[in-house]
């Protein structure tokens, strides 16, 4: 820390030299002001923000003082009204308005610079405050209120901030690692706060003046959005023609503030609206239609601004018509949709049934398809009588099955895809097992018959029926005969 102090002292020496130069060049021209500011920006790294006046020069500049004086005058006296040149730019009042707009932008930049200054100084005392209170003017007010106080319960921040933020600030102050500032730094910081608040009030004055003149400057725009918002839009855009040149999507977000969420989710209410949010039309639309309303407001107000920039309609009727259009559109959106009439039933059999195809249907059809065996059985060779199941032409005919002339050596009797009755499937399985080379150890060639007792060849098998017990109890393809649920 000692080295830092030394560097500060060294910079102070540097600064006094620089200040002498700067004071000389402090002139009336705005151009020179800009040059000074550039030089200041270059020197800022070395100067280290130690003196406010080296950083913020606007309040001392002649231009600022001139315009403020004119505004005070104009606010005092009544407006002339009638005398208006055909070209907007020639009107002296309009020139003042343009200057005011430019000045308000400059004041805003100046406030930002002063805010940086205050922040840097106050960082040593209360670092977290800058992230909790985003707005520069609020920050200045809070800093002024807190001062060098360590215990925030003694400080009343009511009215400066929303209560949620006050709570967060008080809690954070308890755990801050900052230390109270030395007297001269504190003095400088408070001076900077005062400067910021002065600039803010000056800006307010300028904007009030612009607002009061808005009816004569931009009647159509103020007919749609109201004179306050119109003044703010013009101020931020930097003049009526600048506002007219902007596309509507830019006008929509002019003045969009970055909200301090403080733990709240950013998923809700992501409306992209700036100053237009404060218009009467926007406030009175239901929340579901707010985004559409914002878009249409921006579009129509841009049109009105363009009309005003060319002085096309001094009476403001165009603006009123546009406002009416917006109102009608919003009302139409809120209309309930037409009730659904119950449809009369369609004529029977007029719509043909949609036959669906596809893989699933093909697989289903395969299960009931005509097999190769059946196809062969259906055909007959010419000249040769077909064999039949019962012989001599009785029973089912075998057709080409088993004939010498048929091409196939083997024909599988049952393809795997066919659907077979489960009882028939069981019988077939048994027959296959009975004829197979590998048989289970449980089978025996002996049959227990009631007549003979034990027989070697099963008489029932000749009839085509297996022995009752053998086929079911010791059967390989059989299942458990008795299942008991535990």
């Amino acid at each position: 820390m000692a080295t830092l102090e030394d560097s500060f002292l060294a910079d102070l020496d540097d600064l006094s030299d620089n200040e002498a130069e700067l004071d000389e060049s402090d002139g009336d021209d705005a151009k020179k002001d800009e040059e000074d500011i550039d030089m200041d920006m270059a020197d800022l790294e070395t100067l280290n923000y130690d003196d406010l006046d080296s950083v913020s020069k606007l309040q001392k500049s002649q231009r600022y003082l001139d315009i403020m004086q004119k505004v005070e005058e104009a606010l005092g006296k009544e407006s002339d009204g009638t005398e208006k040149g055909t070209v907007l730019e020639d009107d002296p009042e309009y020139k003042l308005i343009v200057d005011c707009n430019q000045l308000s932008v400059d004041i805003e930049n100046e406030i930002a610079i002063v805010h940086n200054f205050i922040r840097d100084k106050y960082r040593l005392k209360f670092q977290e405050l800058e992230s909790l209170v985003n707005h520069p003017i609020d920050y200045a007010r809070v800093v002024k209120k807190i001062g060098n106080e360590t215990d925030l319960t003694l400080v009343d921040l009511e009215g400066l901030l929303p209560s949620a933020i006050i709570m967060v600030v008080s809690v954070t102050a308890l755990t801050t690692k900052g230390s109270p500032l030395p007297e001269d730094v504190l003095h400088k910081t408070l001076e900077a706060c005062d400067r910021a608040l002065d600039l803010d009030s000056a800006r307010k004055k300028v904007l009030d003046f612009v607002e009061s003149k808005m009816g004569s400057i931009a009647p159509n725009l103020s007919a749609i959005v109201g004179s306050a918002v119109a003044a703010k839009l013009m101020g931020t855009a930097g003049g009526l023609s600048a506002l007219a040149k902007m596309p509507a999507c830019n006008v929509q977000v002019l003045g969009h503030k970055r909200k301090n969420l403080a733990g709240f989710s950013s998923a809700t209410s992501q409306l992209r609206v700036g100053y237009l949010e404060q218009t009467e039309i926007f406030q009175s639309t239901p929340p579901a239609l707010k985004s559409r309303a914002g878009r249409i407001l921006a579009a129509k107000s841009t049109l009105a601004a363009r009309v005003d920039a060319t002085r096309g309609d001094p009476s403001g009727t165009n603006g009123k018509a546009l406002r009416e259009e917006i109102r009608k559109k919003i009302e139409k959106w809120q209309e309930p949709p037409p009730a659904r009439q119950p449809k009369p039933l369609p004529v029977p059999d007029s719509e043909p049934k949609k036959r669906r195809g596809g893989r699933r249907l093909r697989k289903m059809k395969e299960r009931y398809a005509v097999t190769d065996m059946r196809k062969l059985a259906n055909r007959m060779a010419f000249g040769t009588p077909e064999e039949s199941s019962l012989g001599d032409g009785l029973g089912e005919g075998y057709g080409m099955l088993g004939q010498a002339g048929s091409n196939r050596l083997r024909i599988s009797s049952v393809p795997s895809k066919l659907k077979i009755n489960p009882t028939i499937a069981k019988k077939l399985k048994e027959r296959n097992y009975a004829g197979g080379a590998t048989t289970s150890g449980l089978t025996s060639s002996l049959a227990f018959t009631p007549v003979q007792g034990i027989e070697l060849c099963n008489p029932q098998q000749a009839l085509g029926l297996g022995s009752g017990t053998q086929s079911t109890y010791f059967s390989e393809s059989g299942t458990f005969s008795k299942l008991k649920k535990i």
């Binding site: 639309t285 209309e335 369609p346 004529v347």
Partner: protein, 180 residues
């Protein structure tokens, strides 16, 4: 810096919902009344002019309770079957209509006779009389089913169709033959 005060926003939305309910209710209440025929020429005209649609003629009186119930069902389903059927009411108390009453042998009211392309369609519902439907329908869907079956049969060229309703739903009546 407090946000600007918002007006009560949900009121216009609620108003929109209320408007919708009133309009729906109003539309349900109104229904096109079925044409009531009192003259022979009217009946002739409607029979000849209904092409490719089933013509449902109800013979009855508006004073009869059964008739009113049947009329209610006819009115409610008239729009649903409008693509393949037309419904009309014939007042049986008028003089000119007696010709038809005698021709179709209508003794019990209400009776419903079906036509298709000027041809009289018969309906076998298990009762003795196939030429007409006597009595009321139990439900709107029953009536629609009967009309559909008649339409299908007629499009295929049949003269008589079989009634799809179960016997419980078919009103029973006694046929008196010459007061026997």
């Amino acid at each position: 810096m407090k946000p600007p005060k918002k007006k009560f926003e949900s009121f216009p939305f609620c108003l929109g919902l209320l408007k919708r309910q009133i309009r729906d209710h109003r539309e349900k209440m109104e229904s096109v009344l079925l044409p009531t025929l009192t003259k022979k020429e009217e009946i002739d005209r409607i029979i000849n002019n209904t092409i490719d649609k089933v013509l449902v003629l109800r013979f009855g009186r508006t004073s009869d309770e059964n008739c009113l119930l049947l009329d209610d069902i006819l009115e409610k389903s008239a729009r649903d079957v409008s693509k393949f059927a037309t419904v009309a009411l014939v007042d049986v108390d008028s003089d000119q209509v007696q010709v038809y009453v005698n021709y179709f042998d209508i003794t019990l009211f209400p009776s419903t006779v079906f036509f298709f392309n000027a041809h009289h369609m018969k309906l076998d519902s298990g009762t003795a009389d196939h030429t007409k439907w006597v009595g009321k329908f139990h439900e709107k869907q029953d009536f629609i089913d009967v009309v559909e079956v008649i339409f299908r049969g007629a499009m295929k060229g049949k003269m008589i169709v079989h009634c799809p309703l179960p016997p419980e739903r078919i009103p029973k009546f006694q046929l008196l033959y010459k007061d026997v």
